[in-house]
């Protein structure tokens, strides 16, 4: 029985998605126009959200790297 988490770890999926989103937002944030910044009450929201997502994405990937599988594999008693 192939347990789903052996196939693809959710931490890797979330980490990867957040890194890509973070990159897109950070780059967008760097080039945001004054009008866009004003819309967000003067906060460079794309830039900050992008950086935060990069950090969160990195943290997920690091977690996955440091603890690859969460405890021993379950018994296959159902088989």
């Amino acid at each position: 029985m192939a347990a789903p988490q052996r196939l693809f770890d959710i931490r890797r999926v979330i980490g990867g998605l957040f890194l890509v989103y973070g990159l897109i937002l950070t780059v967008t944030g760097l080039f945001d126009s004054a009008q866009e910044i004003q819309k967000a009450e003067g906060i460079r929201i794309n830039l900050w959200t992008g950086i935060a997502m990069l950090v969160v994405g990195g943290a997920f990937l690091l977690w996955e790297r440091l603890r690859p599988s969460d405890g021993p594999a379950p018994s296959d008693e159902e088989e």
Partner: protein, 557 residues
């Protein structure tokens, strides 16, 4: 009434551009990728329905909470925040959290160790086949109605983005949800649920930050709420609950007994769409930890739901008024007001993903119960395993099609949370009564289970109809659902006791592992190394969550 709804929805138009669509498209590429990968891993019906019982507590815990963070939470709780103010916090701190902890500590061992597929199957083993069928039937109906709410909310966002008519948005949304659940069953639904949770938080946090900046921080928000239609009452949770002079028109008995005890315990402990998440955990301890792990994020979810609701009521004076936007639109309005392209794409993706996850949870709950508890248990149980996996897929299609129909019912309610709570009072409150009495009173008989459940459900429904007809005066729709739940519980309990005294109980040998105090010695201990650590103790973690919930009330008494 639905006409006013559709007109109001068309006023809101999100200014999305290519960047936002790229972010949205990326998400769905990943979602479909997971669906395909999960499909290859699905071999047996156990895999399809319960993810092979192989997941650790942190995945099932997040999935447990994310299954609930659909339309109900995001639009509904923001709508409640705008309509009722800080009293909405009761849903989280006296409602959800204690119930989730109770589920983990007390009830989960019975569910998990009896190796049932579903709550109705548990009802069959504790009571009889008729009780199972009744429970499965009402559950299936409830899931389809709730799927309609999620679908409607999803369509509302698509409508705001693309300007499509609501009916087209509903049909397209349904097609997308269908594509993604049929691919991988519960595995893909669970993985997507966890992902959408993080994306929606990433999209809502900027809304909260900018919103608070606009209104002058927490103190500014407080000041402005006092001057808004909500007034001083909008900032308090327990003040004036001795009477009904508060935004909810609910007194503390309704709050504690109706919402806190019956409605929330009923929802969290017997709602199979939720419990199913814990059943896919890898052992008893992980299953018990599932709702408790979920209780911690649940404590702080109001930051991204209730606060935006309050900001919206301050900024949009016509919210919820005749001719203005409905309360349901509080969050999309704020997104439109504050978010530049980019973050807007993340927020839209999070919302769309959230409703899909919510609907997927309803549909996967529906197809499990339909296949296992209605078809296999009562119509024909002699087919090979693959046959039921296929029937599950057909049930999914039927469920989504039926959800399209119920989405139009949901469209008729200005506050979808109120509609949802009414449904819970019909279906979950009596189930909880039957379940809890059956668990702690071993003499309770099989037919007491059936008749208690039936009369409880009918009475909750009757009280709602009488409220609608103006016979009962509960003040608000929400308060009506608290009382409906309370009435259902009491009637169910009385009928259960009366029927029990008139019928013969089941022998103890048939109740082993199903009632409190009669454990099943034949079930092996499945603890893993490390389960004895304090940070894996359901009791310690559960107590921590309840204490935090109580502490969080202090600034909002």
């Amino acid at each position: 009434m639905p006409d006013a709804q559709l007109l109001a929805a068309q006023d809101l138009r999100l200014d999305v551009n290519v960047l936002d669509y790229v972010i949205l498209a990326l998400y769905f590429l990943v979602v479909l990728g997971i669906g395909f990968a999960a499909k290859r891993a699905v071999r047996t019906s156990l895999d399809f329905f319960l993810s092979g019982r192989a997941l650790p507590a942190w995945i099932t815990g997040l999935a447990f909470m994310s299954a609930n963070l659909g339309a109900t939470e995001v639009l509904g709780m923001a709508a409640n925040g705008a309509q009722y103010g800080a009293m909405t916090l009761h849903y989280y701190w006296i409602g959800a959290v204690p119930a989730m902890v109770f589920l983990g500590i007390v009830m989960m061992p019975f569910y998990y160790r009896s190796k049932v597929h579903s709550v109705p199957e548990f009802m069959r083993r504790r009571f009889n086949g008729a009780t199972q069928l009744l429970n499965a039937g009402t559950f299936a109906v409830a899931q389809i109605l709730i799927a309609g709410i999620n679908l409607y909310a999803l369509a509302l966002i698509m409508d705001a983005m693309l300007g499509w008519p609501l009916w087209l948005s509903i049909i397209v949304s349904a097609a997308i949800v269908l594509a993604y659940i049929t691919l991988g069953g519960l595995s893909s639904a669970i993985y997507n649920e966890v992902m959408q949770f993080f994306v929606i938080v990433a999209g809502l946090v900027p809304v909260v930050i900018i919103g608070l900046t606009r209104v002058g921080g927490f103190s500014g928000l407080g000041e402005k709420v006092k001057q808004s239609v909500l007034g001083e009452g909008g900032l308090h949770t327990w003040a004036h609950t001795a009477g009904t002079d508060n935004p909810l028109n609910a007194n503390w008995i309704g709050l504690v007994f109706g919402l806190g005890f019956v409605l929330s315990f009923g929802y969290w402990t017997t709602n199979f769409a939720e419990v199913q998440r814990a059943l896919s955990a890898r052992n008893t301890n992980a299953a018990r930890l599932t709702p408790i792990v979920a209780a911690y994020p649940k404590l702080v979810i109001p930051i991204v739901t209730v606060i935006p609701g309050l900001v919206a009521v301050v900024l949009f004076g016509n919210l919820g008024k005749d001719g203005g936007p409905t309360y349901n639109e509080a969050i999309p309005l704020l997104m439109n007001e504050f978010l530049p392209n980019g973050v807007l794409g993340v927020a839209v993706t999070g919302l769309l993903a959230s409703f899909m996850a919510g609907m997927a949870a309803n549909i996967s709950g529906f197809n499990t119960v339909f296949t296992q508890d209605i078809w296999k248990a009562h119509i024909n149980g002699d087919h090979p395993d693959e046959w039921y996996v296929r029937l599950g897929r057909i049930a999914t299609v039927v469920g989504v099609l039926a959800g399209i129909g119920t989405a139009f019912i949901a469209a008729g309610f200005g506050n979808i949370m109120n509609y949802l709570q009414s449904l819970f009072s019909f279906f979950n409150a009596p189930l909880f009564a039957t379940f809890i009495i059956g668990l702690f009173w071993r003499r309770m008989t099989a037919w007491a289970g059936f008749w208690g459940l039936l009369t409880g459900t009918v009475c909750a429904f009757a009280s709602y109809i009488l409220y609608k007809a103006g016979v009962f005066d509960f003040g608000t729709e929400l308060n009506a659902s608290f009382w409906g739940a309370g009435i259902a519980f009491v009637v169910d309990a009385i009928v259960s006791v009366v029927v029990t005294l008139a019928t013969t109980p089941k022998p103890e040998s048939e109740l082993r592992g199903l009632v409190y105090g009669l454990s099943d010695a034949s079930v092996a201990d499945d603890a893993l190394a490390g389960d004895t650590a304090w940070y894996r103790s359901p009791v310690i973690l559960g107590a921590g969550a309840v204490v935090l919930a109580a502490a969080f009330y202090l600034p909002f008494l």
